[in-house]
Symmetry: C2
Amino acid sequence: MTHTDSASPAPAHEIETEDHVALGEDYALTASFVEKVVDAADDGDGMRLRGLLEDLHPADVADLMGFLTSEHRAVVVQWLPPELLADTLPELDDGIREEVLERVPHLTLAEALQELDSDDAAAVVEDLEDDQREKVLAAMPEVDRAAIESSLGYPEDSAGRLMQREVMAAPQFWNVGDTIDHVRRQGEELPELFFDIYVVDPVNRPVGGVAISRLLRAPRETPLIELMEPINAIDVDVDQEEVAYIFEKYNLISAPVVDTGGRLVGQLTVDDIVHIIQEENREDILRLAGVSDEDRSSGVLEIVRGRVPWLGINLFTAILGAGVIAFFEGTIQQIVALAVLMPIVSAIGGNAGTQALTVTVRALATRELTSSNAVRTFWRELTVGLANGLVLSPLVGLAAGFWFHDWRIGAVIATAMILNLLVAATVGVLTPLTLSKLKFDPAVSSAVFVTATTDFFGFLIFLGLATIVLL
Amino acid sequence: MTHTDSASPAPAHEIETEDHVALGEDYALTASFVEKVVDAADDGDGMRLRGLLEDLHPADVADLMGFLTSEHRAVVVQWLPPELLADTLPELDDGIREEVLERVPHLTLAEALQELDSDDAAAVVEDLEDDQREKVLAAMPEVDRAAIESSLGYPEDSAGRLMQREVMAAPQFWNVGDTIDHVRRQGEELPELFFDIYVVDPVNRPVGGVAISRLLRAPRETPLIELMEPINAIDVDVDQEEVAYIFEKYNLISAPVVDTGGRLVGQLTVDDIVHIIQEENREDILRLAGVSDEDRSSGVLEIVRGRVPWLGINLFTAILGAGVIAFFEGTIQQIVALAVLMPIVSAIGGNAGTQALTVTVRALATRELTSSNAVRTFWRELTVGLANGLVLSPLVGLAAGFWFHDWRIGAVIATAMILNLLVAATVGVLTPLTLSKLKFDPAVSSAVFVTATTDFFGFLIFLGLATIVLL
């Protein structure tokens, strides 16, 4: 999504313009710097704003935008130097980017986009409204427009959409000297930064790769095919999650992307992958908590729309649980202690189920859990559930027995807890495994289902046992 | 932790040895391949094992080890070619690595470690038992031993521990030609792969960096200082989480590491950072669920030891909640419907609190939430809580009113739910913010505290209101 950049601003204490320090010790923008920007925006002091902004790294400008309100962003965008604006666009959160794009005149934008690598330009154009997109594309040179349109032709989140089309390829018969000479001549058309040279056959299919640090080491007359190592070509239509897994597993820095004929059409670099990994992790952690996608720029209405459905489902399952309790109203009326104790059984079950669930979701995401070890994992979790129960239930049993002066109540809650911990382990592992088998995201709605099940069975087992034993 | 490697095995369909395909479409090992390895290990058929293993990428061998039982791993280690074993060691899960290391003779290990970059070798030596470590280090050449010992002298998880000491540095007065000639001559002493050349002053302090793809583009006579860009030098004692943040924010591929005098002592590369990012994400997601560190090689006892303390804390807080209910025993005795409905109030509160908590923990981790926007974030969450309440409570109120034929019960539960959702928003945001302010990990124990609070106040508000209104 962002341009590869091996350079970055000097450490905090060196980025000082007049009287301010933009970055704190932890490389985050300081609150006092953000305040200065807000003050200047409030005063409409454009020259001061430009002075504050012009030395920032694009990543820091993007960060700053996240801390501002929509009104202040509108002022800041006006005073950003055009080149800095171009470099900042790919770094912005989606919601903020859409907002900013509405404020930038289409000619300014068309010019800015030509400065970016094709993947970054496409990511920006993707966010434009239809009519603005047409105007911006019409104002760009044919070759840049074609590159962006071809990139947008690939499915969202595919390798084709993520790749940059600029790539350093060399025919099989070249040697080190040929390659270096070519790079010196054609520098303009190559990617801004690259890490591997892809060796291609006469129909442009990659047959191997040479890391450029290896190229530098070798004498000029060394043939490329002697330096070449096998490479992992990625199909244009592979999903980004898959791409991230391959990069992470094999410690890749870059990889060629090929079309269905195996021909080289672009490359992916690790800095883009880092952002994808963070995005996938963010999705997993939020989905487990029942939060649909939201970011710091989301308004209250958008957030509520994302969260209320999960709470609604939770409400429905909680009413089911209440139905179980209602079924035992007669028992509770006679022994009110049961009403006091029953939330303990469901709470511990819910927590243990969430533990098993989270471990399973994470193991599925990192592919540490596959059909090779699914059965073993299930049995292990069941054993863990039993062990948890054997440790905790004597404590609960003793506490409840003493509290209500009735050892039978202690025995009932202890037994119910062991059984519910077995339910928790079962549902905690099987829910995400089943979802994953059915090709659903194992994180989505798992947590609600797991706690609903442990609540339901927690109440049922505890109150059922109590009815049998105590009445 | 792992060696940088731009090459990787050919796609699945090309890695076929005799009759097997090791990798599935999704680049994970296939169940049938794992089974073949298990069968060969069971039969003690060493030649067949070696045939199966020798063409695997080290990352796949590490993966395979994760799918095997301890007994099978012992057999497989015996038959791994020594070089492949060396490359596999840095890729293994910690628990498995410790186990494997106990089985490798120290001379074999000393030899294997010399093949690795200093960061990988140190990561392996770190896991050795004290007496084995001494023997292994004693069997290594002085220079390698010194590198490892110096690496282990830095604090765990610091940049100094993670960095590799091999680095490509060039004096300020060199030009492109000097640099390429140096690389061709000194190739052996340079890192296996590198991406940037660090330009250093006479006392070895980095003053800038040149991406090697930029070096390649420039004519031989270009001075390095003309190509040089500002770089972000990282102090040896900076924590790995900080390092990951800097790499991600500025899209770095590599960065120089400097000692307290600002002198160049090593470099960090992005492939190591990808592993750190995954590790930090893993920690966050597991800690939120109350799971201490465990991996697929952890035994049941280890897992239980990690999870039971959280369940124990949860048990304690659940008993506090039960205490609240016990306080209202008289009320429940008169209106048993309250026992039926009260878990609904606490369940929705717990879920809403977890949503707010997770969003906050994530925003803190990515530094999207700082003191600049903490107050605004808090108010936003409180507004979201109120909005959630206004949407959901009429539903609950109506349902409860109809169910128990008493509109006052409906009014009580609706009011209690709105208030508890405000409690959930407050505690969901303030808990991680406070922990973070006090320099604790905002994920640790937050979830238990949040649900305990929403349970406690859920019962208190609902039963308290009911006592006032209904009796």
